[in-house]
């Protein structure tokens, strides 16, 4: 009684009640496993009627995102900093969407598609409106490509025609890319981003400038719409593009299901587009996006159920702790079409020697790298780096090619023997010496904000050091890291390897190896030519001639250029076999592990047909990697098809 009379005790009780009320925040609910066991989620689920909503009555979809902070925020998705990558999918649409990990393509603004001889004709949905009320027409699609003429697909097109307001004809060059590639090249763009009525001035100018260019004489060079654009014209096109990126508008104008409402440094609010052309596909009234960069703060939001959906898989123990602390959370894992890996810089000695690179590759114990880098990832000990997503190796490569690949499974004895073959020797101190008797020390560079990369690179450095090759990690600020790595400032560089940034097929991922990111970090040579003044000019074109799988010399650049036009699947497979074998054999890098990422659902506030429902209870809400195509697709949808689909239409407030 005395206790109850004390003022402090009352204050404590009041505080406890307040905390309990805040943490409960509305109606109580048993956890997900209890609901499943009680039979609450049997059969196909349907959207909850408004009057039966219990936990998300305001129908707000709450997620995390990032964007340029006001006053820098502006509405042009191509402007400086964009509008925030994660918000693209809520406000903008393309003709199609594709699922990055499966390459499934679905119609969005395109109602139907016809493939003719040398053409792809797209019929647009009628009644689609931009957020400012203007109709979306074929002219907008044409405007997208005339202004954004650096888009990948323009290299394969001769023209885009608009016979009427709702028909777009893409005319392909002859030869055209193979059918699957044509579809994906079109599907990877968000064509509903450049409303012609807003950007007419810039679109018409770009169109006029392109019309001044002459056609290329042959297919040995690339250019938008097969045009040979001289430097001076190119500068004018770039200038026009730069002016366009600075031209606004103040807020985004798309055709998507949500319209921009307001933005602050920490919060962005989108509201349902009342004129959306698919009204039944929108289950939420608002999307509330919070900008919380700090990981610990993000976990706090997930734990407390303040988010409906969260992207990413934290370290194992944190993941298990979050699931334990919040019984409504459900976590799905999925393969990421990207691997964490390391690239050797062949511009630096002794990395120009293939046997040295192979020796180092034999030193790495990939299971340890994966455990620390991303416990849920999957290592493939046999390969070095192939240019193919490891989980697709067996489906993309022939058994014969796979059988001929050098096996790089951890083998320190093999590493030592290879080093001895090239004149290295191990001293009494356990350190390896080069043929000149010098003990080298190497640096692995990694971008400091990339946790799986930094963590696994640190272990890689320790493994090499323990083997007798002193190596240190430099975790470099990410704003300068990539430029430094491309310039060859580190002996070894960490980055995503065997990755495709757009659609997931071998053409896309081999391009990264031989023409894009990997090429720069490894330091593949380019073809040089002599300028008019006698100076040496780097053409930027790959100059790599190496032995292929059959022992004959392969001009890699030539093979890459031929690849997209090969219509015969078996011939394409042979190219893939050869280029992947070459990458593995030459050991220009090491695939540490294929990344596995994840998505979280707060089932207290977000309802729907959760994938693999029958495994939720037995897996303890930490779902295993999906094994069937249907499950894989459903789980990938949960991750917005890796930023290309609009996920909330498949789920609804509870």
């Amino acid at each position: 009684m005395n206790l109850l009379r004390s003022g402090k005790t009352w204050a404590t009780l009041a505080l406890a009640v307040f905390v309990a009320a805040m943490s409960g925040c509305g109606a109580s609910s048993p956890g997900l496993a209890a609901r499943i066991e009680a039979g609450e989620l049997q059969g196909a689920q349907k959207p909850v009627p408004d009057d039966q909503l219990k936990f998300n009555k305001e129908k707000i979809f709450r997620v995390l995102g990032g964007w340029p902070k006001p006053p820098l925020y502006q509405g042009n998705p191509f402007g400086s900093g964009g509008i925030g990558d994660t918000n693209n999918r809520y406000m903008f649409e393309g003709l199609y969407v594709f699922i990055r990990s499966t390459n499934d393509v679905y119609n969005v603004l395109a109602e139907s598609t016809e493939d003719g001889p040398g053409t792809t004709t797209v019929h647009l949905h009628k009644g689609v409106k931009w957020h400012d009320g203007a109709p979306f027409t074929s002219k907008d699609v044409w405007a997208y490509y005339r202004l954004n003429n650096g888009a990948d697909v323009t290299k394969y097109l001769s023209s885009i025609e608009t016979p009427d307001d709702y028909t777009v004809v893409f005319r392909w060059l002859d030869p055209a890319p193979y059918p699957e590639l044509k579809k994906l090249l079109l599907a990877q763009d968000l064509q509903g981003q450049i409303p012609y009525h807003l950007y007419q001035k810039y679109v018409d100018k770009a169109d006029g400038l392109l019309k001044q260019a002459k056609p290329l004489p042959d297919r040995s060079k690339d250019g938008p719409f097969h045009l040979d654009i001289p430097d001076e014209l190119n500068k004018q096109i770039a200038l026009n593009w730069n002016e366009f990126t600075r031209s606004g508008p103040a807020v985004p104008v798309g055709t998507g299901p949500f319209k921009f409402e307001k933005v602050t440094t920490t919060d962005m609010l989108l509201s349902r587009n009342p004129d959306y052309w698919q009204p039944d596909a929108v289950n939420y009234d608002k999307i509330w996006i919070k900008n919380v960069p700090e990981l610990s703060a993000q976990y706090a939001l997930v734990k407390s159920g303040k988010l409906d959906w969260y992207d990413g898989t934290p370290p194992k123990d944190i993941l298990e702790s979050l699931l334990k602390l919040n019984p409504d959370l459900l976590h799905y894992r999925m393969y990421d079409p990207a691997s964490v890996g390391l690239m050797y810089n062949i511009r630096r000695k002794p990395f120009e020697q293939v046997k040295f690179r192979q020796a180092l590759t034999y030193v790495f114990e990939k299971s340890k790298l994966r455990e620390i880098g991303n416990y849920y990832g999957k290592e493939y000990p046999k390969i070095s780096m192939t240019g193919i997503m490891p989980s697709s190796l067996e489906s993309e490569l022939s058994a014969e090619a796979l059988g001929k690949m050098t096996d790089y499974t951890h083998n320190p004895e093999k590493a030592a023997s290879l080093l001895q073959e090239i004149g290295w020797s191990k001293g009494p101190d356990g350190l390896w010496r080069d043929p000149g008797g010098h003990v080298p020390s190497f640096i692995i560079g990694a971008p400091n904000n990339w946790v799986p990369g930094v963590n696994s690179a640190q272990i890689a450095a320790e493994q090499l050091t323990r083997f007798g090759i002193p190596t240190k990690l430099k975790a470099v600020d990410s704003t300068i890291y990539f430029a430094n790595a491309d310039k060859g400032l580190y002996d070894m560089s960490m980055d995503w390897v065997d990755v495709s940034w757009g659609f997931q097929n071998p053409w896309s991922s081999l391009k990264v190896v031989y023409w894009d990111g990997t090429k720069k970090k490894v330091g593949f040579p380019n073809v040089k030519k002599t300028g008019a003044d006698g100076s040496e000019i780097d053409t930027g074109r790959l100059d790599l001639k190496v032995a292929g799988i059959d022992g004959k010399t392969v001009d890699v650049d030539k093979e890459m250029r031929r690849f997209p036009y090969v219509q015969e699947e078996s011939e394409r497979k042979a190219i893939i076999d050869n280029l992947a074998w070459i990458a593995n054999e030459n050991c220009w890098g090491v695939n540490f592990f294929q990344n596995v990422t994840g998505a979280w659902i707060n089932t207290r506030t977000m309802a729907g047909n959760y994938p693999m429902m029958d495994q939720i209870v037995q897996s303890g809400r930490d779902m295993p990697l999906p094994e069937t195509d249907a499950d894989r697709l459903a789980v990938t949808h949960l991750n917005h098809g890796f930023n290309s689909t609009f996920m909330p239409r498949e789920y609804w407030p509870r």
Partner: protein
């Protein structure tokens, strides 16, 4: 000299705070010098042994990779103390020389040196360090310390200059100048002893500042990444445990925080007694 030394230690001993600071610092120095000789650190990943609780074989448990936390702290102490002490030394030397010459010489020299000092005080260090990171290769703790000192000497230089301005017109300095003694002599023999207490305190504070700042430089890529640096251990612990989201990792998280906190506390306690020990006026009081 021996009498002065004895007086110094007597004063430190009487100041309980300062004495406890000395004891803790001595433990850390012992740990840095002899620790790595007594036990070897194995950084091999033993994932199944991660976040182990304290035991006889792992006194402070293990980290996210199953490696011994105490041994990492012991090995890290060498790096941490070397960087701290060298960075403090460089800070002190640069700060004193610039401040003293500026204050003593006056005129154009003073204007020029203070202009440079103000530049270092006002230019934001982050973008400059980014450029330095791209240009400079740091290969040992001494060069690492020098880079740290480059960004911390300016406030000390201004403070020393202020002290100089008040000292240089005192009778004993005026007498030295009338006698025709050269500036280096006056600075080292007459002025430096008067500033010793102040410089000693700054030395300690600069050392602890450098240890904290070293993590920032590692994460910029200016220096090789050292997973046993205490600051880096804290960063890794927060990153891998999510701060409070992994109960198994609490001891691993708290250990480097406690170590760094103890080191900073010992520095502050020690410096508290330093002024008293080195300033005869305070001691007599």
């Amino acid at each position: 000299m021996s009498q002065g030394f004895a007086d110094f230690w007597r004063t430190i001993y009487r100041n309980k705070k300062s004495f406890s600071g000395v004891i803790i610092l001595a433990v850390f120095i012992f740990m840095a010098i002899f620790g790595p000789m007594l036990a070897s650190l194995d950084m091999t990943v033993k994932f199944d042994n991660r976040y182990a609780s304290p035991s006889w074989s792992h006194w402070l448990g293990t980290d996210y990779g199953g490696r011994d936390t105490l041994l990492q702290l012991v090995y890290g102490s060498r790096d941490v103390l070397t960087i701290g002490l060298f960075a403090a030394l460089f800070t002190l030397v640069i700060g004193f020389v610039v401040g003293a010459v500026s204050g003593f010489a006056g005129g154009r020299t003073d204007t020029a040196l203070m202009f440079v000092t103000n530049l270092f005080l006002t230019i934001p260090s982050f973008p400059v360090l980014m450029i330095v990171a791209a240009l400079v290769q740091i290969k040992n703790p001494v060069s690492f310390s020098f880079i740290l000192a480059v960004w911390s000497w300016a406030p000390l230089a201004r403070a020393v200059r202020s002290q100089l301005l008040s000292l240089k017109n005192r009778e004993f300095i005026v007498a030295c100048r009338i006698m025709g003694l050269r500036m280096p002599y006056i600075l080292s023999r007459e002025i430096l002893p008067n500033l010793t207490p102040y410089l000693a305190i700054n030395f300690i504070m600069a050392a602890q500042g450098a240890i904290v700042a070293s993590v920032g430089l590692m994460m910029l890529g200016l220096a090789p990444y050292s997973p046993t640096n205490w600051g880096m251990m804290i960063q890794l612990a927060v990153q891998n445990t999510g701060g409070i989201f992994n109960p198994k990792g609490y001891i691993y998280l708290i250990s480097p925080i406690l170590c760094l906190g103890l080191f900073q506390m010992s520095c502050i306690f020690f410096s508290n007694g330093l002024e008293e020990a080195l300033n005869p006026r305070l001691r007599s009081n």
